[in-house]
Amino acid sequence: MKKSVILGAATIAGLAAGAAAAGTMDDVKARGKLNCGVTTGLVGFAAPDANGEWQGFDVAVCRAVAAAVLGDANAVEFVPTTGKTRFTALASGEVDMLARNTTWTFSRDVDLKFEFVGINYYDGQGFMVPKSLGVSSAKELDGATVCIQTGTTTELNLADFFRSNNISYEPVPIETNAEAQQQYLAGACDVYTTDASGLAATRATFENPNDHVLLPEIISKEPLGPLVRHGDNEWGDVVRWTLNALISAEELGITSANIDEMAQGTENPEINRLLGSEGTLGEMLGLDAQWALRAIKAGGNYGEVFAKNIGEDTPIGLARGLNAQWTDGGLLYSPPFR
C-alpha cells in the first residue's frame, strides 16, 4: 500500500505541498502527539537525560505547547534535527514546530517561508579568552588565532567584526562545540567565539573556569525563537501565544506554586483572562479555557523555565541579562492578553 501511495504522490507533491500544510492543529489533535523539532543536543537547551526524557529550555516550549493543545506535557515526539535538516523537516511537515535555537533572520522568515512566532532567548556572539592572555576587549585581539565553527553565521559575523575594526586574525576551523573545547584547552587557539550562551556553558565545564574570561563585546544579534510554517496562522497563533503566556505569567507573578490558587480568580483581570476564569481567549484560539493554565503548569513560567535549565543556579549559570522582563530592564515584552 505504502509504495503505491508514494509513487502516485511524487507527481502531485508539488501541488500538495502548499495546500496540505493547513490545519496543523487538527493534525496534532488527531495524532494526539506534537512533533517538535529540537537540536540533537545542546547544553541547557535540549538534551535527553539518562532515561531518554528530553530536557532543556527549548524542550520546555514544546512541552508547554503540547500541554496547551493536548492537555499533556508529555505528549510530545521530539525529533532531533541537525543544522542541515531542520528547515526541511519543518517545511515537509515532519515536525509541527521547531524549537531549535534558530536565529530569527530576514531570509529565514521571508525566503524560506517560515514564521517565527516570537523570541524565547536573546543571544549574541561573544569571545572567550584565557585570563593569562591579558586581554580585556575584543578590539585588542589583533593577530589572534580564533577557534570558529565553520559554515555558521558566527563565521561571517567574526569576519565582519575584525574587518570593521581593521585588525587581523587567523581562523582555526572546527566542526563541533566539543572539538572547540578540546582545541581551545589544548591551546590551539587564543580565542573561542560562538554564541554567548554556548560560551558560558563551555566555560562552566572547564576545570578552572575562573582562568577564562568572556570579553564584554557582543558582536551580533542572535534572537532565538520557535518557528512554524508559513500559511497556517491558527497554528502559528497557538504557538505564539503559548510562548507569550509563559512570559506574561512571569510578569504577572504567576508561578507553578501559586497557579492553582490564582486560577480560582483574582483581583487582576488580566490574570483571570489568561488563566481562563474570565473571558473567552481560549475559545478564540480554538482551545479550551484552561489552555494557558496547562501550558504554565507544564514547566512553570518563563522565569522558572529559565532558572531550571540555564539560570544562575545551574552549571551553565547564565544571567538573565537581555532576557529579563521589560520591567526589569530586559527585552521580554509580551503583548497583553485582552
Binding site: M1, K2, K3, S4, V5, I6, A9, A10, I12, A13, A16, A17, A20, A21, D27, T39, T40, G41, L42, V43, G44, F45, A46, A47, P48, D49, A50, N51, G52, G56, E77, V79, P80, T81, T82, K84, T85, T88, A89, A91, S92, G93, E94, T176, A178, Q181, Q182, L185, A201, T202, A204, T205, F206, E207, T314, P315, I316
Partner: protein, 435 residues
C-alpha cells in the same frame, strides 16, 4: 699404513641446546636483540610502548565509576591528589549512559525484544556461517528470520510479516503453475507480478481482516525510539543481508548478454558508486520529504535502510564481478559443455568459485558498511556518535570526549574484528588460496 681407524658405533646422546638459544632467552635473542641495529630498535620501541602505557593506564584506571557528573569526577580525582586536564577518565558517564548508548530510546520494558532479535540472528546465521557444524534443518529458521526480525524490533500485529511471507508463497505457487503450463520466463514474470500485486494491493486488506478476526500482536515501537548501537546494528545487518543477493544479481546483470539488463545494471552501479553515501542519506532525509506530500509518513529509518542497502549492493556487485572475472574462461565453457543451463551453471560451477575468491572483498565491504552507519548522525538519527553529542549536551557531562568515543570505538572494534576473524576462518575452511 697404520690401520688405526675410528668408527663410532653408537650415537652420541642428544644434548640440550645451549641456554642462549632456547626458551625465553633464545626467543629474545632471535627476535628482539639480533644484532645491534635490531637491539636499538627494540629498546626504542619498548620505550615508546612504556611511555604510551604510562600515560594511558593511570588515566584508564580511574575510580570514577559511580560519579554523577564531570564535576564529581574531578572532585574524586582531586581527592586522590590527581590534578590537571588528563588526570583521569570520568567513567561515570559510561556507567549512567551505557544502556542508552546500546538501546537508544527503546522502551526499557521491551529491551528483551532487540536482545531476542539479535540472539535469534545468531541462530539464524549459524547454519549459513558454520555449515559444517550446525544441522542444515535450521536453514528453515534462517529463511523465516527476515520476517521475524522486523516484527520483533518494530512490533505491531503479527499478520504484517505473515502477509509479507504469503507474498513469496503466492509468487512461487503462481510461478510453478505457469512454468508447467507455459514457459519458464513467463512463469518468472507472472510469479513476480502476482507477488507484487499481493504486497501492494491485497495484503493491506488481508492484514486488516485478520486483525479483526484474531488481533495477535506485540506493542509497536516507533522508529524514532531506535538509537545507539541497536540502530547501527539494525542498519548494518539489514544492509549487509540485502546487499549480498542484490550485489550478486547486479554483478550477473552486468555480465549479461541481454542489452537492457546489462545497461540498467551498469547505470545503477556506476551512478551509486559515483555518489557519496552522505549524499544519498541527505536525499533520504530531506529531498524525499520535499517530494512526498506533507503528512506522508514514510519512515525515516526505512528510507535510510533502503539507501544504505542500495549503496552497499553497488559496491558488492563490483567485488563479485572481480571474483567472476578471476575465473578462467574454461570454467564457463566447461559448464556449457556439460549441458547446464544458465542458472544451473551459475549455481553449481561459477558462483561457488567466484564467491570463494571474493570473500575478503565481501567482508571488507560488510565492515565498511557497518562503520558507515555512523554517518546517519549527520541527518539527525541518534546512532552512537549522535548520542555521544546528545549526552555531552547534558550539563552534567558537558566536556567529556575521550571516554565516550573510547567506549564507542571499543564496541565497533569488537564487531568489526569479529567479522574479520570470521572471514579468515572461512577462507581457511574453503582454501581460497588455490594452494
Amino acid at each position: 699404513m697404520s690401520d688405526i681407524g675410528f668408527v663410532r658405533t653408537e650415537m652420541l646422546p642428544e644434548q640440550a641446546p645451549p641456554a642462549s638459544e632456547v626458551g625465553i632467552i633464545g626467543w629474545m635473542r632471535h627476535n628482539l636483540f639480533d644484532g645491534w641495529f635490531n637491539s636499538a630498535l627494540t629498546l626504542l620501541s619498548v620505550y615508546f610502548v612504556y611511555k604510551v602505557l604510562a600515560a594511558l593506564v593511570p588515566w584508564i584506571l580511574s575510580p570514577t565509576w559511580d560519579a554523577g557528573s564531570l564535576a564529581e569526577c574531578r572532585e574524586i580525582l582531586a581527592g586522590l591528589g590527581r590534578e590537571g586536564h588528563y588526570a583521569g577518565a570520568c567513567w561515570g558517564v559510561i556507567n549512567e549512559r551505557w544502556i542508552q548508548l546500546i538501546f537508544g530510546f527503546y522502551p526499557a520494558e521491551l529491551y528483551w525484544r532487540p536482545i531476542a532479535a539479535f540472539i535469534l540472528l545468531g541462530v539464524a546465521l549459524a547454519p549459513v556461517l558454520f555449515s559444517d557444524k550446525v544441522p542444515a534443518k535450521l536453514l528453515v529458521f534462517s529463511a523465516l528470520y527476515p520476517f521475524i526480525f522486523p516484527w520483533l524490533l518494530w512490533g505491531g500485529t503479527i499478520w504484517g510479516p505473515i502477509s509479507a511471507l504469503l507474498g513469496f508463497v503466492i509468487g512461487w505457487l503462481v510461478y510453478s503453475a505457469v512454468d508447467k503450463a507455459m514457459s519458464n520466463l513467463v512463469g518468472i514474470i507472472a510469479g513476480t507480478l502476482a507477488a507484487v500485486i499481493w504486497w501492494l494491493v491485497l495484503s493491506g486488506y488481508f492484514v486488516g481482516a485478520m486483525d479483526t478476526i484474531a488481533a495477535i500482536g506485540i506493542e509497536p515501537v516507533e522508529s524514532r525510539k531506535f538509537g545507539g548501537f541497536m540502530l547501527s546494528i539494525t542498519i548494518g545487518v539489514v544492509a549487509i543481508a540485502c546487499s549480498l543477493p542484490l550485489g550478486i544479481v547486479l554483478a550477473l546483470g552486468r555480465q549479461s548478454d541481454l542489452m537492457i539488463v546489462k545497461y540498467l545494471c551498469v547505470g545503477f552501479i556506476e551512478f551509486i558508486r559515483g555518489v557519496p553515501l552522505i549524499t544519498l542519506l541527505f536525499v533520504a532525509s530531506t529531498l524525499l520529504n520535499i517530494f512526498l506530500p506533507p503528512g506522508t509518513d514514510f519512515d525515516i529509518i526505512l528510507r535510510v535502510l533502503i539507501m544504505v542497502t542500495l549503496f552497499a549492493s553497488a559496491y558488492m556487485a563490483e567485488v563479485i564481478r572481480g571474483g567472476l572475472a578471476a575465473l578462467p574462461r574454461g570454467q564457463y565453457e566447461g559448464a556449457d559443455s556439460l549441458g547446464l543451463n544458465y542458472w544451473q551453471s551459475q549455481r553449481l560451477i561459477i558462483m561457488p568459485q567466484a564467491l570463494k575468491i571474493s570473500i575478503p572483498g565481501i567482508v571488507s565491504t560488510f565492515i565498511g558498511v557497518f562503520k558507515d552507519t555512523t554517518l546517519v548522525s549527520i541527518i539527525g538519527l541518534l546512532d552512537p556518535l549522535g548520542l555521544s553529542n546528545a549526552i555531552r549536551a547534558d550539563a552534567n557531562w558537558n566536556g567529556i570526549v575521550w571516554e565516550l568515543y573510547g567506549f564507542i570505538a571499543l564496541l565497533f572494534f569488537a564487531f568489526c574484528f569479529g567479522m574479520s576473524r570470521y572471514s579468515m576462518y572461512l577462507e581457511r575452511k574453503l582454501h581460497t588460496g588455490h594452494r
